[in-house]
């Protein structure tokens, strides 16, 4: 049973997607690392049950399940961490992201501010909506694959996504209005 090399070859390709989903569910970097580690161990043990050619939805479903277990335990233990704390360091982004037209400095700044708002608003969405938005908008998964990851019917995925996007827009409008005095 030398499935480990094959498992590693297939599963490590999706490490970034796994970590990203785990982070957005548990909203803490150290916890996301532990969730990914736990999830990969579970995936390895269940590897013989994986048949198919696309491992990503299967693996992400395990990551998601592990993250929710983690959240449950954390809630039971009463350590609820604040979003502020979880999101102290914004992801290091290359300021020279490829863009179709070279943005001037001001536009780039506005872009960064907007991203910051979106991240904050996304972090506060309820998990059922947050996860579909992350899987669709950041991971670019199809509705079918999101359904596989979340175990929800496609219709539910569709309506959660619609609701998630609508609420995100609403939250952004609110955040922007609150910060109006300091707006650029």
């Amino acid at each position: 049973m030398s499935s480990l090399p094959r498992f590693e070859q297939l599963a490590l390709k999706h490490l970034e997607a796994a970590y990203n989903l785990a982070f957005w569910l548990v909203r803490s970097r150290p916890d996301a690392e532990d969730v990914v580690q736990d999830a990969y161990l579970r995936a390895l043990r269940a590897f013989q049950n994986f048949h198919g050619d696309d491992m990503r939805p299967w693996l992400l479903a395990i990551v998601r399940h592990t993250a929710y277990r983690w959240l449950n335990n954390r809630r039971r233990a009463g350590n609820v961490i604040s979003i502020e704390e979880a999101y102290q360091a914004p992801a290091t982004r290359d300021p020279a992201e490829p863009a179709d037209h070279a943005p001037n400095a001001e536009a780039r700044l506005i872009g960064a501010v907007e991203q910051d708002y979106v991240v904050r608003a996304l972090a506060e969405l309820p998990p059922a909506f947050r996860e579909v938005v992350v899987l669709r908008e950041i991971e670019g998964l199809s509705y079918r694959d999101i359904a596989k990851v979340t175990g929800a019917p496609i219709g539910t995925v569709m309506s959660r996504l619609a609701r998630g996007r609508r609420d995100l827009r609403q939250a952004l409008i609110q955040l922007l209005a609150e910060d109006e005095p300091n707006a650029l």
Partner: protein, 257 residues
């Protein structure tokens, strides 16, 4: 089409997941309705911003840690079948030498912290231990009850003369908690009453004893060794309920009692 409905469909519309006929109806609506057009533009911008935010950067150490963990987790099946430890095992003596000092420091710190916690929580921890042990012993016996009856008017008088208080015994069969009976047990250096309920296949013990000075205390939940314990104090009686039910269901029982 109504604006409300349009806004619901905009999300799949932008993902190109809408059937052709809905698509054209929606496109026509967007031409003529500035409000919905604005909404659509906002959603597009949101999608652009989110994809610009991108994934959270994976810590470079994670891949190394994972490889090590996975390698440690896959022993040859012939030699060991037990579940392997989830943490990487050291490969060379040098590893031990390099890591020994911080590990020993961590151990010392843990020991001190444990001692400190234990000294704080000792009476409570001892009760938890007693309750858990009594419940386990009861599960090992052929019957968890000394008197078996679902009749509350049979159980309640049974306690009189055996303990120096009279616990309230409630029939909760309508709520899915079947009264099996009662027994006496010994917890926290005293004789206590135990009501035994069953929910589906799960056995539940409710330990009761008087707590004369005890103020009303709201329910608290602890999980130990996979068992859920709920404790509360009401009307001078302290209760400990224990079961392998999940905390939600045990809390239901607590509210009903």
């Amino acid at each position: 089409m109504h604006c409300e409905r349009v806004r619901e469909l905009l999300s799949p519309y932008l993902d190109e997941a809408l059937p052709a006929q809905d698509r054209s109806v929606l496109a026509a609506h967007l031409e003529s309705c500035p409000g919905c057009a604005r909404f659509a533009a906002d959603l597009r911008r949101l999608a652009r911003t989110l994809s610009a935010v991108g994934r959270q950067g994976t810590p470079p150490s994670l891949q190394v840690r994972l490889r090590r963990t996975l390698a440690g987790a896959q022993p040859p099946p012939s030699r060991r079948s037990a579940r392997p430890p989830p943490w990487p095992r050291p490969r060379a003596a040098g590893w031990v030498a390099r890591r020994a000092a911080p590990i020993m420091a961590a151990c010392a710190l843990t020991a001190v912290a444990t001692w400190w916690l234990l000294s704080l929580a000792e009476p409570e921890a001892r009760l938890q231990h007693d309750v858990l042990a009594a419940h386990m012993r009861a599960l090992l016996q052929e019957s968890p009850t000394q008197v078996a009856s679902a009749d509350t008017h049979w159980i309640k008088p049974w306690f009189s003369g055996r303990v120096d208080f009279s616990p309230s015994v409630t029939d909760l069969s309508a709520e899915g908690f079947l009264l099996l009976g009662a027994r006496l047990d010994y917890v926290g250096d005293r004789r206590v009453g135990v009501l035994v309920y069953r929910r589906r296949q799960h056995s539940i013990d409710v330990f009761v004893w008087p707590n004369p000075g005890g103020n009303h205390r709201a329910a608290r939940v602890v999980v130990r060794k996979g068992y859920t314990l709920v404790t509360w104090t009401r009307q001078g009686l302290t209760y400990w309920a224990i079961s392998d039910l999940d905390p939600g269901e045990l809390n239901t029982l607590q509210r009903l009692l």
